[in-house]
Point group: C2
Chain length 326, copies 2
């Protein structure tokens, strides 16, 4: 796939755009201009690490499990999307920390519960033993519960957001809708219902949009709440972009799962196939799956055209997401 | 215990107070004046039934499980406390529906996850098979997740609350804090940690306050957000009342569990003892446990004195809660 994703051109234009710092980029030491996303990855880890209860606070095991699940070395794609949308819309990243943190906590919760023996029964995640392997099943259930509650507590208690309670409520509503029974959790239920029978492509895309797409869209959608009233068109376009990138991301994830070996992803691979879950490449073949991911990527990109050069952070990030190594 | 709980006196005074309708009591057909709480129990079930996604919406099994867990015939004590606080503070119950519904959803989620095989492994709840028995373990995990997310979505999307986003954010923060790792979920983790060793009474009360007391306090605390700025003293007193009633309630629950038979509670009894969990009567004996519940009840009541006759709905409810049959 790498060869087929269009390279970003006009390097000079892009560098110039990236040198124009977003409102809060300076406090990141100009890191937003770097070609990788480590500055924001560092930022969100530090932010969550400071906000989450310490291991030294009772209940110790629970807080330890929560930190283990939330502060691992993931790519933090959802927070990155939130911050990148912020760069595009010129929003100070301090206004986005709670949103980026909350979406990461929801993602972390979903992984902990997904990995449970009664669910996917995975023992390895990002190269480390899963939470229930380390802390036992009861603590893993509770840690997942606490992580998702923490997401809403973070949004409700954030000092920046509390100054604009309207934005705060909107963001909480967006995150809850994306995570709930009509969003991510519903997607997981559809995933279970789909086991053992062959879904159609339409059904699978619906499932994927819920399971992965909605939370990815919420990452950008929450950032947009700062600009929603001022610019509803931008919000709509960015939501369309996010939906497509979310679906492309999940198809890409399928492809990685389908092709990769344990060594390169750090997950127990083939678990989806072992569990007889439908996957995109399983349903239509690797070639058509790649083609669909590319198509979604192209559509997503074209939705950013209205932004001109300002769209570059999101373009770069979409590129980063969809070009992950197979 | 029934004999030792002070009977409400001055029936004439009380009836007069109850005939003075709270702001929204008229729409309840004057039901708030009835001596039982069925009007509000009906109200909250109807409210949640209308708000939760129907069974006919995909994912069908998940939505069916959610409704099974949330709409069972419980006592709905937490919503009742919310509405009763509203009567005391003269808040229209329409302003409390989302809060009452949200705390009930959090309670329902906690029961679903508590009953899981990896947790208490209970097969019966309120006389019905538990969610995982009916829908399987994966769906039960997801239904619990969706229920807790729904609680926050309900608060964030409620039309009445959205007109006062400051109250909305406060309520969300109160509920999240009460449910999270420093509240209910943390209490459950302490419960697990306490298995196999004898906690002190101080430790057990701390555990109980987290596991049960915090959510009960939140039921009243959320209602208080409508009056918090106007009357911080009332909020403080009512929070103190709720904390004590919450602890008394849990000790009472222990006593019921300790003494009762399967037939009268509809739960598989003695499961706490079988699991070697510490209980209040197990630690100090039935007599001292009853005495402590009474002491907490008396303290709670005295905290309402400042309200005069207006406190009657909360007094009645506390009485109802603590006088549940052994």
């Amino acid at each position: 796939m790498e060869g087929t994703v269009p390279e970003l051109t006009h390097r000079a234009v892009r560098d110039a755009a990236l040198l124009r710092p977003a409102a809060g980029a300076r406090q990141l030491g100009g890191g937003a201009a770097a070609d990788d996303w480590s500055v924001y990855q560092y930022r969100i880890r530090e932010f969550l690490s400071a906000w989450l209860p310490p291991k030294t606070e009772a209940p110790y095991e629970l807080h330890s499990a929560i930190r283990y699940a939330a502060l691992g070395k993931g790519k933090h794609l959802r927070p990155l999307l939130c911050y990148a949308a912020g760069e595009v819309l010129e929003i100070d990243p301090r206004f986005l920390d709670a949103m980026a943190g909350a979406v990461e906590l929801i993602h972390a919760f979903s992984l902990v519960h997904d990995d449970l023996p009664a669910m996917d029964d995975d023992e390895l995640r990002r190269g480390r033993p899963t939470v229930h392997v380390v802390y036992g099943e009861p603590l893993a259930i509770l840690a997942g519960d606490a992580l998702q509650i923490a997401a809403f507590q973070l949004l409700a208690s954030d000092r920046q957001l509390s100054r604009t309670p309207q934005v705060q409520s909107l963001a909480i509503g967006i995150l809850a809708a994306a995570a709930g029974s009509r969003g991510m959790t519903g997607g997981q239920a559809l995933d279970i219902a789909a086991e053992g029978h062959q879904p159609t492509i339409v059904e699978l895309e619906d499932l994927y949009f819920r399971k992965t797409g909605q939370l990815i869209r919420a990452s950008i959608g929450m950032a947009c709440t700062w600009r929603e009233q001022a610019d509803p068109f931008a919000t709509e376009q960015l939501n369309g972009f996010a939906s497509r990138i979310g679906l492309a991301f999940q198809i890409r994830d399928d492809l990685l799962e389908y092709i990769s070996t344990k060594a390169t992803t750090g997950k127990s691979t083939h678990s989806d196939r072992d569990n007889h879950k439908a996957t995109y490449p399983g349903l239509v073949g690797v070639g058509r799956a790649r083609h669909r991911a590319q198509e979604l990527y192209d559509e997503a990109m074209s939705l950013l055209d209205f932004l001109g050069h300002a769209a570059l952070p999101l373009r770069r990030l979409a590129n980063f997401i969809v070009r992950r190594k197979e």
